[in-house]
């Protein structure tokens, strides 16, 4: 558990340092994710390694971590209400369009036929 946390926080720290040093337009944790992915590919940890178990535990309750930011939306309800129609339509409309374009593009370009991956 502690070894796992050390890996996660360490990768995030390196990610944050890299982002600040290079001015890369991505969040530090995303760079940390790429870094940990590379570390895992090189080290090939066993199934019950700390970093794998800690990550699984953290991701099992990923939704919990978004609750504060989500509840924070109540602070902007009046702003949203002022432009409710354009906000709602633009948000939902562009969300559906983005979902469709990405999903269809990946399906079209994937070498494996969609049917074979279905389970």
């Amino acid at each position: 558990m502690i070894a796992g946390l050390t890996w996660l926080l360490g990768c995030q720290l390196v990610g944050e340092v890299v982002v600040r040093a290079t001015g890369a337009p991505v969040p530090g944790p995303v760079v940390g994710m790429v870094l940990l992915f590379a570390v895992l590919l090189v080290r090939r940890p066993v199934d019950d390694a700390g970093v794998l178990r800690t990550s699984d535990a953290l991701l099992r309750h990923l939704q919990l971590l978004f609750v504060p930011a989500g509840a924070g939306v109540v602070g902007y309800l009046s702003l949203i209400r002022d432009d409710a129609l354009p906000i709602t339509v633009a948000l939902v409309g562009s969300w559906v369009l983005g979902l469709a374009v990405v999903g269809w593009t990946v399906t079209l370009l994937s070498r494996t036929p969609a049917g074979r991956e279905r389970r």
């Binding site: 530090g28 940390g32 970093v51 991701l59 990923l62 919990l64 990405v102």
Partner: protein, 231 residues
């Protein structure tokens, strides 16, 4: 009693209890899509804050201890991806085409739809980055003349939309491959969509997390260009 409404302990317990209620509702309804624990918890906490007239800034300060773990959790998304590494090679080209294309469509359609319905330029700039994960959408709103706080709120709403409706809409769109579903969900609903994808299927969750990261990068690069074209 006023000390209670400024205490991190109260806000943390409130958030944890609301999340547990969300999980219970999710289990009781047989995993109904609308009963996402995050949505139930957000509604409960939001209503409590309104009723008790709590300053949202106090609540956000008080729950910092919880929000902090979003960073390490994002790093942890490398683990599901590592387990799917064998599938990654054949998806490099589709990812490199679909994610930037998706970013252009997300930004462009948000701007144009807002304009058609009478939104002003400030609103267009505020809506534009909403598909990217919150730290990036906030920064992009700041540098491109939007309202960062409102962008943050709208980004969260786009995420919750994905957690609630994503899988159903993907099925309606006849997108069936787990990889394509995950990539699409992560591209429009970042980490919150990924949390649903992880609950649906391991492959879906892994690729949703990856798409979230790539979308953050792609949106940062294309947003200024799309705004310059449309505004």
């Amino acid at each position: 009693m006023s000390w209670l409404l400024e205490s991190p302990l109260f806000f943390l317990v409130l958030t944890l209890v609301a999340y547990q209620v969300g999980r219970a509702v999710h289990a009781r309804t047989g995993g109904h899509a609308v009963a996402q624990p995050v949505l139930v918890a957000v509604v409960l906490v939001g209503a409590t804050l309104l009723i008790l007239d709590v300053d949202v800034a106090d609540y956000l300060d008080g729950t910092e201890l919880l929000s902090f773990w979003l960073g390490p959790a994002t790093v942890a998304l490398a683990v599901p991806l590592y387990r799917q590494a064998s599938r990654l090679r054949s998806l490099v080209i589709p990812l490199l085409v679909a994610v930037p294309l998706g970013a252009v469509v997300s930004v462009g359609s948000a701007v144009l739809l807002a304009r058609v319905l009478g939104g002003d330029e400030l609103l267009e700039r505020t809506l534009a980055p909403k598909a990217a994960t919150t730290p990036v959408s906030i920064a992009l709103s700041e540098t491109n003349g939007g309202l960062p706080e409102l962008t943050a709120a709208l980004t969260i709403v786009a995420g919750i939309l994905g957690a609630v409706a994503g899988p159903a809409v993907l099925t309606l769109l006849r997108i069936r491959a787990r990889t394509a579903r995950g990539i699409a969900l992560g591209s429009v609903s970042h980490g919150i969509g990924t949390s649903r994808a992880l609950a649906e299927d391991r492959t879906e969750g892994a690729f949703s997390g990856l798409a979230m990261g790539l979308t953050a990068l792609a949106t940062s690069l294309v947003l200024p260009l799309v705004l310059a074209l449309l505004l």
